[in-house]
């Protein structure tokens, strides 16, 4: 019986011997989706403007790199808007331009330009922004990467300007900006080498 007690656990342990450190590449999704109420009535110009402050705290709270991990890169996966109509709304769509404002507005980078999004009901679907500007996305990517790598905490604003369609109608909506970013990070973890074909750490 004593032999059994020794040999059986040994079998299980056999699976775990020969542990080696392997490099794994993980992807964490970071989603930020602030909502802003907009109430514009009696505006015959049909224009609107909204300033969205962005700071490092929200991103650092959303993603904490695990101990021993190394962030390889942050990418912007998508930007989308949702316009959900509220009581009194007459607008059917918005034509929106987004600009990144840094250093108090001195540095401006266009993020997307004249993208048209439909105004829907309370459960309006997300409208993907299709007229994204590569320079703006690059700048946004760089800022967020700095936040999650903790190399900068300088805040910036995203300014949304646009036109109400049809012009002059009342705009009473909740406007939600949905930003999806992904952080690729590497981490060396110990796994049974017998079963893994993964990349060895230090290769």
């Amino acid at each position: 019986m004593k032999k059994i007690k020794i040999i059986l656990p040994l079998c299980a342990v056999l699976l775990l011997i020969g542990c080696e450190k392997r490099l794994f590449h993980f992807i964490a999704t970071i989603t930020q989706s602030p909502t802003f109420p907009i109430n514009i009535t009696g505006n015959i110009t049909g224009n609107f403007q909204l300033l969205i402050p962005v700071n490092s705290t929200a991103f650092q709270n959303a993603f904490a790199i695990p101990a021993g991990g190394r962030i390889a890169r942050v990418d912007i996966e998508s930007l989308a808007l949702r316009a959900a109509a509220k009581s009194g709304n007459q607008a059917t769509a918005l034509q929106v331009t987004g600009v990144i404002l840094e250093n108090g507005g001195i540095q401006q980078t266009i993020l997307f330009e004249q993208d048209t999004i439909a105004v829907g009901g309370a459960d309006a679907p997300l409208s993907s922004l299709k007229r994204l500007n590569a320079d703006g996305i690059g700048r946004l990517r760089s800022k967020i990467e700095g936040y999650v790598k903790n190399t900068t905490n300088q805040s910036f604003d995203i300014q949304l300007t646009g036109k109400i369609v049809p012009s002059g109608r009342s705009l009473v909506i909740d406007l939600q900006l949905v930003l999806i970013a992904t952080a690729k990070y590497d981490q060396c973890l110990e796994v049974p080498g017998l079963f893994s074909s993964g990349e060895k750490c230090g290769e």
Binding site: L8, F26, T29, I76, L126
Partner: protein, 294 residues
């Protein structure tokens, strides 16, 4: 967090226990739709096939008398290249929608990336770069009554308060057929095995096997083989705590019903029994077993 880490702990005892919880969530949480099902399906196939292995190492069952065997069965599912990639689709609101070959959970640890509008990038996660998926379970056999023996597998481990317990319960029976055949040159038996595997309220898996076995013994050696039918399912359900709120993640993964052929060799020295076999099926498995019995 948290549930998914323990899920894998339960599914792949020994392999993934070293992966921290956040990593495991990051693996799976990227996928919440059709991509997720295809990403996880090879795990269901391999895990189900592992469960359906190691029931027998002989077809010889005594017509009567007390016979007890207790051992550990170690199953190793061999992961083929076709189980390492799948055709993934980018998910909205990323535009434009595109398809790309991406790693499954067993695939390369390098993920796949695809560029979209205005410099956006959709990243598909990499896999665990696994060639084999191991599983080890204890097994008890007791017989025999009119040439019939019963088998039992049972493991129960409490992980923590959040997850609850990992529990594997399996039972089956085999009956000696050669006792009805006069002067049969080989031993023949038929049997079934039913198993249920749970990880708290997160994982609910089941596996079924039934089939015929034959064996031929000479001295301490026994050659054995089997022909059977197997099926398995793996349901996963939990709430992923994302920065945008809780996201329900649910996968219902059924392994294709499969015919299984088994060929193996057992060595029996006094009360010590060792066996190794290869199982040819939709998911191939190597089984090693060591135990004691009389």
């Amino acid at each position: 967090m948290k549930p998914i880490s323990k899920l894998v702990l339960g599914c792949c005892i020994g392999m993934f226990t070293s992966l921290p919880a956040q990593n495991l969530e990051d693996y799976v949480a990227k996928y919440t739709s059709e991509n997720g099902t295809q990403f996880m399906q090879p795990l269901a196939d391999a895990f189900g096939a592992n469960l359906n292995s190691g029931f027998f190492q002989s077809a010889r069952i005594s017509p009567s008398g007390l016979h007890i065997y207790f051992g550990v069965e170690t199953m190793i599912a061999v992961i083929g290249n076709d189980q390492k990639t799948f055709l993934a689709k980018t998910e909205a609101p990323f535009t434009p929608q595109q398809n790309v070959s991406a790693p499954t959970i067993f695939g390369s640890s390098d993920g796949a990336s695809i560029s979209g509008t205005g410099g956006t990038v959709f990243n598909f996660p990499g896999g665990l770069a696994l060639n084999k998926l191991p599983l080890a379970v204890p097994q008890l056999r007791i017989g025999s009554l009119r040439g019939t023996e019963a088998s039992l597998r049972f493991v129960q481990v409490k992980i923590d308060e959040t997850i609850g317990r990992v529990k594997l319960l399996g039972f089956g029976a085999r009956h000696n057929l050669s006792q009805y055949i006069k002067d049969s040159p080989v031993d023949l038996a038929a049997g079934f095995f039913i198993q249920k595997f749970d990880v708290g309220d997160i994982v609910d898996a089941s596996a079924n096997y039934y089939g015929l076995q034959t064996s031929y013994s000479r001295g301490v050696m026994t050659l054995y083989g089997g022909f059977g039918f197997e099926s398995a399912s793996l349901d996963i359900s939990y709430q992923y705590e994302s920065t945008a709120g809780n996201v329900p993640i649910a996968f219902s993964l059924d392994s294709a019903n499969s015919i299984r052929l088994t060929a193996g060799l057992a060595v029996n020295v006094a009360v010590v029994h060792f066996h190794i076999d290869y199982n040819l099926a939709a998911q191939n498995v190597v089984t090693l077993g060591l135990g004691f019995g009389f």
